[in-house]
C-alpha cells in the first residue's frame, strides 16, 4: 500500500478523471466545476443585481456537494494519503523558477511565495491571487465552462466550442507565462 502515499502517475489519474465524469453522467448530472461559482454568486445575493443570477440554486445543490467533496478530498489527500508530496518537476523548470525568485520550487507542493500564510500581508501577492481568480471566474463564465466542463466533458463529446475554448485556455496560459511573468516575477 506504499504506492498510495506516492504521487499518482498521470496514466492512472487521467482515466480516474474520466471516471469522475462518467459517475456524474450516470447519476444524471454533468461534470462542470465553474458552475458552482455562479451558484455561490446567487447565494451571496447577486440575483438582486442582474438576471444572470436569477435561477433556482437548489437545482445546483448537487454540484455544491461535489464542490464540498473536493474540499474534503484535498484535506484527506494532503493529510492522510501523502507524505509531503512534492511534484517531481523538470530540473530546467526548477532552475527557471529559482531564477524568478521561487525558492520553494522543487521542495513544496505549491509555491510558498504565493500560498504561504505570509501572502496575506503582502499586497503584491494578494493582488496576484485576486486578479488570477478574477480572470478565472470571468473567463470561465464567458467561455461557458472551465477545464472540467470544456476540456474534459466537452471534448469527450467532440464538441467544437469546447475545443475552441481549450485552445483559448492555452493561448491565455502561454501569454501569461511567457509574456507577463517576466514583467511581474
Amino acid at each position: 500500500m506504499e504506492w498510495i502515499l506516492e504521487p499518482w502517475p498521470w496514466y492512472v489519474t487521467g482515466p480516474l478523471i474520466a471516471l469522475t465524469m462518467f459517475t456524474l453522467l450516470y447519476v444524471g448530472k454533468n461534470f462542470g466545476m465553474s458552475s458552482n461559482l455562479r451558484t455561490l454568486c446567487t447565494l451571496c445575493g447577486a440575483d438582486k443585481t442582474c438576471d444572470f443570477f436569477c435561477f433556482d440554486w437548489k437545482g445546483q445543490r448537487w454540484n455544491l456537494l461535489v464542490m464540498t467533496g473536493a474540499i474534503i478530498g484535498g484535506f484527506v489527500a494532503s493529510n492522510y494519503l501523502s507524505e509531503n508530496q512534492v511534484p517531481d518537476l523538470n530540473p530546467a523548470t526548477i532552475e527557471q523558477l529559482h531564477a524568478a525568485g521561487f525558492e520553494s520550487a522543487g521542495n513544496a507542493y505549491v509555491p510558498t511565495e504565493l500560498f504561504g500564510n505570509e501572502s496575506f500581508s503582502d499586497i503584491k501577492t494578494l493582488a496576484i491571487l485576486l486578479i488570477g481568480g478574477l480572470l478565472v471566474g470571468f473567463g470561465a463564465r464567458y467561455a461557458g465552462g472551465c477545464t472540467s466542463g470544456h476540456s474534459i466533458s466537452g471534448i469527450s463529446n467532440l464538441q467544437l466550442p469546447s475545443l475552441i475554448a481549450t485552445i483559448g485556455f492555452f493561448i491565455g496560459g502561454l501569454i501569461m507565462v511567457h509574456l507577463i511573468f517576466p514583467l511581474i516575477f
Binding site: 498521470w10 489519474t13 487521467g14 482515466p15 474520466a18 471516471l19 459517475t23 447519476v27 454533468n30 461559482l37 455562479r38 454568486c41 447577486a46 442582474c50 443570477f53 448537487w62 461535489v66 464542490m67 473536493a70 474534503i72 478530498g73 484535498g74 484535506f75 494519503l81 501523502s82 508530496q85 511534484p87 523548470t93 520550487a105 507542493y109 505549491v110 500560498f115 500564510n117 501572502s119 496575506f120 491571487l129 488570477g132 481568480g133 480572470l135 478565472v136 471566474g137 473567463g139 470561465a140 463564465r141 464567458y142 461557458g144 472551465c146 477545464t147 476540456s151 474534459i152 466537452g154 464538441q159 475552441i164 475554448a165 483559448g168 485556455f169 492555452f170 496560459g173 502561454l174 507565462v177
Partner: protein, 138 residues
C-alpha cells in the same frame, strides 16, 4: 439523502485525484506552459482518451442513467468569440493563480489558505461577467 452522499463521495474522490495527480499544483501548470514535462499533457490526454470512449459508448449503446433517462451532454451554442476570448481570459488566470475552479477548492481543503483570495476573486469575476454579459460579443 443517499444521492447527496453519492455527490459528496464523487467530489471527495475527484478532490483526491486532483491533489494526487498534482493537477492542483501551481508548479505543474507552470511546467506545462513551458512544455517541460509530459505530465499535464498525459493527464489531460489520458482523461480525454478514456472520456471519448466512454461518451461514444454511451451514445452508441444508448446507455441510461440511474433514473432510466437517456444520458445527454447538452450541446454548446455555436460561436467562436465567447469561447476564444473567454478561454484566453481563463487561461491567463489559470496560469497566474495556478488553479482552475476544481483544484482551487481542493487546495482550500489541503490548507493553503491564500487560495481563498483566488476563490473570492473567481466569485467576483463570475459576478462581474453577469453584470456586463449583455455588452460582450458572444
Amino acid at each position: 439523502m443517499i444521492k447527496s452522499i453519492i455527490y459528496l463521495i464523487t467530489g471527495t474522490f475527484f478532490g483526491i485525484v486532483m491533489y494526487k495527480s498534482e493537477a492542483a499544483s501551481w508548479f505543474r501548470i507552470y511546467e506545462m506552459f513551458n512544455f517541460q514535462s509530459i505530465h499535464m499533457y498525459g493527464l489531460m490526454g489520458s482523461a480525454l482518451a478514456v472520456g471519448i470512449v466512454i461518451v461514444q459508448f454511451i451514445k452508441r449503446k444508448k446507455v441510461k442513467d440511474i433514473h432510466g433517462a437517456p444520458i445527454v451532454i447538452a450541446a454548446k451554442d455555436k460561436g467562436i468569440a465567447r469561447y476564444l476570448i473567454g478561454g484566453i481570459l481563463f487561461g491567463l488566470g489559470w496560469a497566474l493563480a495556478g488553479a482552475c475552479p476544481g483544484p482551487m477548492f481542493v487546495l482550500a481543503g489541503a490548507g493553503y489558505f491564500p487560495i481563498l483570495v483566488v476563490i473570492l476573486g473567481a466569485v467576483l469575476g463570475t459576478w462581474l461577467y453577469g453584470l456586463v454579459k449583455n455588452r460582450l460579443p458572444h
